[in-house]
Amino acid sequence: MDFFHVIVVLLESTIRVSVPLIFAALAGLFTERAGIFDIGLEGKMLGAAFAAGAVAAITQSVWLGLLAAILISVALSLVHGYASITQRGNQIVSGVAINFIVAGSTVILGEAWFRQGGRTPALAEGARFQTINFPFADTIREIPFIGPIYADLLSGHFILTYLAFAMVPISWWILYRTRFGLRLRAVGENPGAVDTAGISVIWMRYRAVICCGILCGFAGAYLSLAMTAGFVKGMTAGKGYIALAALIFAKWRPFNIMLACLLFGFLDAFAIRLQGNPLPLIGQVPVQLMQALPYILTVILLAGFIGKAIPPKAGGVPYVKER
């Protein structure tokens, strides 16, 4: 029973840390499927988290905070889009640039506006997301096995958590069952063909980039409005890169993304839980190894030792209309 309890707690924290990864990886899915590499997930998430924290602190409204997060993230996405679609610049360089600009300006602006060492003020009840408790969660918790699963795993999360998991099938439906999705994927594989069909490759890619911005906005808002009560400098702490790794690990497929994010989230939660406790059979495992494991796994996958990750064909190549 005690072991079962540990598992439930572990899975619960897995879900909690996976949410921003799922949002960000799905965001990456939209752009990368449209042929635009996006290293800037990290920066967009951080910018969104800052905007959410700052606006929610000033207006005391969680929804305005969320809106600000999405707006900032979309704006940053459009900068990336302008550089890589219109100006045909190097997409990786542009993503790196965005990460730096955001990393610096969130600290500078946060310090100038709030003077709390790069933090935004701690948010009160109404200015952040509250967990949603399912009906009868407390009564059912006493029932063995099903009780804790219902009360702790399914119930008691933020609305954004449910949205993140809902976005997985929704993204799948958009990408694989709508005309928009078909064209978006086509633009990433063979933009020339899409152009021949009379559809604007440029506009298509811009729309993909906007989708990415919206999803990164949710990821950032989750960090500063749900997971913690306010923005802390550098709070993404490489989550954007882990999401990127998850995206590749999932071979650019929505459901795999959810699983990859849950796996990486689990490793994270497990590493925190472990903190110096020896594992049965293996013994002491350095925390650093656990932290590096998502990256190591991704490298191994990329090397083609666990299946083959084939990126969208036109990824990273700016589209030049033939004359």
């Binding site: 610049g89 730096f100 650093q288 490298v299």
Partner: protein, 377 residues
């Protein structure tokens, strides 16, 4: 990919275009300063004064520049072969192991000029080894170098935390760093070089590795433009299919290029470890690997451009410290913004102002041609 823009005169291509991009980056940075409620001109004054105001400040500026020359060269070498090495940060971090091992081994028995060459070799070897795997994976298994090098940065960071907290830390010490090296593990300062110009170095850690950086810059120029390997690298960078058609081994060039790039990044570790701290600390790289990207883009991947670009970032780092001292609301994170803006405008948006500049020069040269014709007639 063919360049859709007309060829410009050399001084425009390598001088004016980067300067215009840089100017725009600084204008936007100025806007951020305004947004914070400070005066951008005052910030600029503190920046220049903080970087050049005294001999000591110049020493610090050049100390930072040394670091950035190494990482800038590392990125540039990879750029020439069409590879984007984002892993300079990790390679420099791991390169530190080589420096630390050489110093820990010999610092008490040997003078610095014996330890230094060994540390150079050590840092280059460890840096190259850390870049080898991403290079090899790209060459043989087709995994994207950008993603693998990013992953390797994180793995390096975890590895170094492990090593510094468990292995390299002296017994009984709490802080995650090696012991402080004896005389032999510390590089002499270049105070004589500054005193030629009548400057007093003060406490600035400007040291011999600056000279090594200059040698490395010259070496990179030789390699890229005067050797067979460099020719192959540039060919592959311009057109991989042409390189393949000419019988060059793509995988060989990829792996070798990445190792050279990693070695250069690794050598960066000499400057902070042997030149300043006299020990290896956690996070001693402090983002220099990423600054290298901005430096290489600014310097258009040419050593002659990289050195001034590295000095520019040295100015930003040293002057930026002064700004944050004088104007507390502008912390050193301002540098990170400027760095990002430079990467954006000199890298991703490099073509934004080019059409306008091209138009300007094509009309003026046409007018000159017309004038010449009428004179001739």
């Amino acid at each position: 990919m063919s360049n859709p823009y007309a060829k410009l005169p050399g001084w425009v291509e390598y001088g004016l275009v980067p300067l215009v991009n840089l100017a725009v980056a600084f204008l936007v940075a100025g806007l951020v300063v305004l947004l914070v409620g400070e005066n951008p001109l005052e910030a600029a004054y503190h920046l220049i004064n903080g970087a050049f105001g005294r001999g000591e400040y110049i020493g610090f500026t050049l100390y930072y520049a040394t670091t950035f020359i190494f990482t800038g060269l590392a990125v540039a070498v990879a750029f020439h072969a069409g590879l984007f090495n984002i892993g300079g940060e990790g390679q420099a971090y791991v390169g530190g192991i080589g420096v630390a091992l050489a110093c820990l081994w010999l610092d008490q028995t040997m003078p610095w000029f014996v330890v230094f060459p060994l540390a150079i070799i050590g840092s280059a070897l460890f840096g190259a080894a850390w870049a080898f795997l991403p290079g090899w994976l790209q060459a043989k298994r087709g995994s994207h170098i950008v993603i693998t090098t990013i992953m390797f940065n994180f793995i390096a960071s975890s590895l170094m935390v492990y090593l510094l907290t468990r292995v390299l830390k002296p017994l009984g010490s709490m802080s995650p760093q090696t012991r402080t090296f004896a005389e032999g593990g510390q590089l002499p300062k270049l105070d004589w070089l500054l005193s030629i110009f009548g400057l007093d170095i003060g406490t600035a850690p400007f040291n011999v590795s600056f000279l090594l950086a200059l040698v490395a810059a010259f070496g990179v120029w030789l390699l890229i433009w005067r050797t067979k390997l460099g020719y192959e690298m540039r060919t592959m960078g311009h057109s991989p299919s042409a390189a393949r058609y000419a019988g060059m081994s793509e995988s060989r060039i990829t792996v070798i290029t990445m190792m050279i790039s990693g070695a250069l990044a690794g050598m960066m570790a000499l400057n902070p470890i042997m030149g300043e701290q006299g020990r290896m600390q956690l996070d001693f790289v402090q983002g220099a690997g990423f600054v290298g990207i901005a430096v290489a883009l600014m310097g258009r991947s040419h050593p002659a451009g990289i050195i001034p670009a590295a000095v520019l970032f040295g100015v930003l780092y040293q002057g930026g410290a002064e700004i944050s001292f004088e104007m507390p609301s502008i912390s050193r994170d301002m540098i990170v913004i400027i760095q990002g803006l430079v990467i954006l405008f000199a890298g991703a948006l490099e073509n934004m102002f080019r059409p306008a500049i091209t138009r300007l020069f094509s009309t003026s040269s046409r007018r000159a041609a017309v004038v010449a014709q009428t004179k001739g007639a």
